[in-house]
């Protein structure tokens, strides 16, 4: 799905990526964890095609459909929720969009608020609308850049559970950037820990938890063990 080889990228304030290799296969849920400013978002933007690498190779199976979820919901305030979710279809010049918009809203449990404007929604609802917008074209690859960072813990856990279900139901491949180790553990099939700049991979391991996960999963010893391993890896990356 994604193959990065020797990717380099620098900005005016320094080298962010210096020869990074990363491969993500179809059906994986890969979380990228690492210190602030280490280049996680840069990596995601390169994969999305929103930025170009200075060197190395970025191969992404874009033809299978790619969607991006930003740190904030970034809805168009002048469009209703339905209008926002319909945007990717309308930009592609597609007609008869309402059944698909309805299905996407139902998938994120937002059916019934489609006529509202973003300003009338809570932060969690706005983020769900943003996810519906990302899913409406049925992409195979979903890139998410700290989507739930601005939400309260409870809302975040609920959205994590919803996202995990969508991942399994819709057969998505997800690359997910987060600061939260617990969130990475809960969501992922695999977690990649990056060091501080220039980012290199200090830990890359599958998450050995059952596929079906819910609120109970967070209390299991296996969950605690995976999280502890990740914390250790992260500390090593920062050292």
């Amino acid at each position: 799905m994604i193959e990065l080889t020797g990717v380099r990228r620098s900005f005016a304030d320094g080298v962010v990526l210096d020869g990074l290799d990363l491969r993500v296969d179809a059906g994986e849920f890969v979380s990228l964890v690492g210190p602030s400013g280490c280049g996680k978002s840069t990596l995601l933007r390169l994969v999305a095609g929103l930025d170009r690498a200075d060197g190395g190779e970025v191969v992404v199976a874009r033809e299978e459909g790619l969607a991006y979820v930003f740190q904030d919901a970034h809805l168009l305030p002048w469009r209703t929720v339905e209008g926002n979710v319909a945007l990717p279809l309308e930009l592609a010049g597609e007609r008869d969009v309402s059944p698909r918009v309805g299905a996407a809203l139902t998938a994120v449990e937002l059916a019934g608020v489609g006529h509202k404007y973003p300003a009338e929604l809570s932060g969690g609802m706005r983020m769900r609308a943003s996810i519906a917008r990302a899913l409406v074209k049925k992409p195979r690859l979903l890139l998410m850049d700290e989507p739930f960072a601005a939400l309260d813990e409870l809302t975040r856990q609920r959205l994590d559970e919803r996202l995990r279900t969508l991942f399994l139901e819709q057969g998505l491949t997800v690359v997910f950037v987060t600061h939260s180790i617990a969130e990475a553990t809960f969501l992922s099939t695999r977690v990649v820990v990056l060091s501080s700049r220039p980012a290199r991979i200090v830990h890359d391991a599958p998450v050995d938890l059952p596929a079906e996960r819910n609120a109970v999963t967070r209390g299991t010893p296996a969950f605690a063990r995976v999280t502890a391993d990740l914390v250790a890896a992260l500390e090593e990356g920062e050292a």
Partner: protein, 256 residues
């Protein structure tokens, strides 16, 4: 109604003070007539003042409409490239700094005495805020939303119509509000130089003729009418922008 209370009371107090001072100090009526005299004179000249307000209102509205169309279009064109902006923006700025009184005679030479020159004057004075409002609005679109449109392969036209112009709407509306007041000023000043004295003269002509005849009371009436005209045009813009923005814009949301 609550919001109307304080300014109305302030106006009443002001008028009362003016009346008492003008009468108590025996100020010459051609220097400063008391409000009651102004009201009586304005009422007597109501046909003339109403006609003048309509004449000036028409040219001010035409000039303002021209500013809206040309200003927004120019803003869009300049926003397409930094090079264009750097090349032409300083000259757009000239429109703002040139004293309209100084170029009004030129307008007469180009357009002749009459409504065309007056409209041109209203346009020149009011177009610049629309250009800047449009340009700064288009320039401050959320970059993440630009990314979104890039990601979904948006055409340039759709990006402009679906993203940039709605994003800029509030800023454009602010420019238009400023322009509405300026258009009236531009029209009145334009009439000083280029207005018709015969037929149905505008407020600028009424101001000049009542000044020459020392009819200060009528002059005040004309000033009052042009103020009302500015307010009317301002409210006209306000109503439209409110209708468009109230549903979604934070600054324009209906109170609940």
């Amino acid at each position: 109604m609550k919001q109307l209370g304080p300014p109305v009371v302030a106006a009443l107090i002001g008028l009362l003070l003016w009346e008492l001072l003008a009468r108590g100090l025996h100020v010459e009526p051609w220097l400063l007539p008391p409000p009651s005299t102004v009201a009586r004179a304005a009422f007597a000249a109501r046909a003339e003042l109403l006609g003048a307000t309509l004449t000036t209102g028409t040219t001010a509205f035409l000039g303002f409409s021209l500013s809206a169309v040309v200003g927004v279009s120019l803003g869009v064109v300049l926003s397409r490239s930094r090079l264009l902006e750097r090349g032409f923006y300083p000259y757009a700025l000239l429109l703002q700094t040139v004293p309209i009184v100084a170029i009004a005679p030129l307008l007469v030479l180009w357009f002749g005495i009459g409504p065309r020159a007056v409209t041109a004057s209203a346009f020149i004075v009011s177009v610049f805020p629309v250009v800047t409002g449009t340009l700064s609005g288009l320039r401050s679109v959320d970059p993440a939303l630009h990314d979104l449109f890039t990601l979904y392969g948006s055409s340039r036209t759709r990006r402009l119509l679906w993203l940039e112009l709605p994003s800029a709407a509030f800023s454009i509306a602010t420019g238009l509000r400023v322009a509405s007041g300026l258009a009236v000023i531009g029209a009145v000043v334009g009439e000083f130089v280029a207005g018709f004295a015969e037929g149905r003269p505008g407020l600028g002509i009424v101001v000049m003729s009542s000044y020459r005849q020392l009819r200060t009371d009528v002059l005040f009436g004309a000033v009052f009418c042009s103020t009302l005209l500015g307010l009317a045009l301002f409210s006209f813009v306000g109503v439209f922008s409110h209708l468009y923005l109230r549903k979604w814009h934070v600054a324009e949301k209906d109170p609940r």
